[in-house]
């Protein structure tokens, strides 16, 4: 490679220093006048100055979040590590992220929410549907069916005309009542907030669930009915509640509301969390955790967050 002439290098260095001075906010009027004089004094100076402006423009034209996550990825320079990792490890999170974020069924659904989004949709028959984060449903009102493709929904049916929620693990029929259904890969949790709801698991007899009861439907059938507190606020009110909950469990829940990657050190798993947190600002939840627990939040970008145990001050 040819190395640039010494005077060009000199001009570039000076341009870089001028720019840094201007951006620092510490430039005086005198500095500005000097800069102008420097630019005017030589063509190579003005040329270097223009190149520097063009460089800034190249960055300014980028979408910030995407560019930040790509250019500030962990250890771009660690080739040796990368070579080892790229074979398997580095490919897994990307594939996992994509499968996690873009399952095909979601796009075909009538209604869906992105990660972190919640939505309330009044239906034509007077019922109200609410969707939690990263959820999708197909609504077919003429045949009184709502198919929960993925994620979590609640349905309030004020009238006597029933609506049937179809899940991969059974059917839930709601009339004059309100129920919440959360579907995961291995099962589906049905919680009833008011009225009574009919359930038909994939296997076994139909059952009726009343207000304050919840049950897990699995491939093998319904598990035991449990009680829960209908008055405790939840995602429908935009709140994430924890009462002496293991931090790992809490973070897995929180993660489902955040786009990107949230990771934490295994030692943090067993810490306990208590509190009620607003879901509309999950960054703030992380900040609150850092303020109340012995942990640190490292935010490379909004999309790449790692929690580590706080270092002891010597």
């Amino acid at each position: 490679m040819n190395s640039p002439a010494a005077d060009v290098r000199q001009a570039v260095r000076a341009a870089a220093q001028w720019l840094a001075l201007l951006e620092s906010g510490g430039a005086t009027d005198q500095d500005r006048a000097n800069l102008q004089r420097w630019r005017d004094s030589c063509r190579s100076h003005e040329h270097a100055w223009q190149k520097a402006q063009a460089l800034r423009q190249r960055f300014a034209d980028l979408p910030p979040a995407l560019a930040m996550s790509s250019l500030d990825r962990p250890d771009p320079a660690r080739r040796v590590v990368l070579k080892r990792a790229l074979g398997a490890v580095a490919l897994v999170p990307a594939a996992w992220l994509i499968s996690r974020q873009l399952p095909l069924d979601v796009w075909r659904a009538d209604l869906h929410t992105a990660t972190g989004e919640r939505k309330q949709v009044p239906l034509a028959d007077g019922s109200v549907l609410q969707l939690n984060t990263a959820s999708a449903v197909d609504v077919d009102l003429p045949s009184h069916r709502v198919k929960l493709v993925e994620g979590e929904m609640s349905l309030k049916v004020p009238g006597a005309s029933p609506l049937m929620i179809q899940t991969r693990f059974g059917q839930v029929t709601v009339s004059q009542g309100e129920a919440c259904v959360r579907q995961g890969s291995r099962g589906c949790r049905v919680s009833v907030f008011s009225g009574a709801v009919q359930l038909q698991p994939l296997q076994g007899a139909a059952l009726t669930l009343r207000a304050g009861q919840q049950v897990d439907l699995q491939a093998a059938g319904a598990a035991a009915i449990q009680a829960f507190d209908v008055l405790q606020p939840g995602w429908r009110e935009g709140v994430l509640m924890a009462s002496n909950q293991p931090l790992g469990e809490f973070l897995r829940e929180l993660d489902s509301y955040r786009p990107g990657v949230l990771r934490w050190a295994p030692e943090l798993e067993a810490l306990r969390v208590t509190g009620s947190f607003r879901l509309d600002d999950t960054d703030r939840i992380l900040a609150l955790l850092a303020a109340s627990l012995p942990l640190e939040v490292q935010m490379r970008t909004r999309y790449w967050v790692t929690l580590t145990p706080r270092k002891k001050v010597a």
Partner: protein
Amino acid sequence: MGNACDAADLSQDTFLRLLASSQRIADLQEPRAYLLTVGKRLVSNFYQRRSLEQAYLSALASLPEECAPSPEQRWLLLETLQALDELLDGLPRAVRRAFLWSQLEGLTYQQIAERLSVSERTIKRYMAQAYEHCLLVDL
């Protein structure tokens, strides 16, 4: 390399690089060593580009649907990011970050100084270093 297609692409790149370079092949003193050097540089570029691509795809996947760029924009953007990534290559980690925070997130030097727990003077030095580095690579 892990797979034969990548290896074939890379050796072709090596020869293209050689043909495109200003040095005449006949003038090479040590053709074998030259090929090896060019080849090695390309391999490390290859991994760097791939890691960028991975990070980019992950970030894309985590965007809400309505914010995601169109397929054409995605490729243009990836190419731009790859060029800038090469431009930034070789800068120390902290300098690179400070620079990206300033350029992309519009943070002030004072905010960056707080984030990195260093003085504003240091940030000013970092920024001058980053500008100089990028401008020199681009000459």
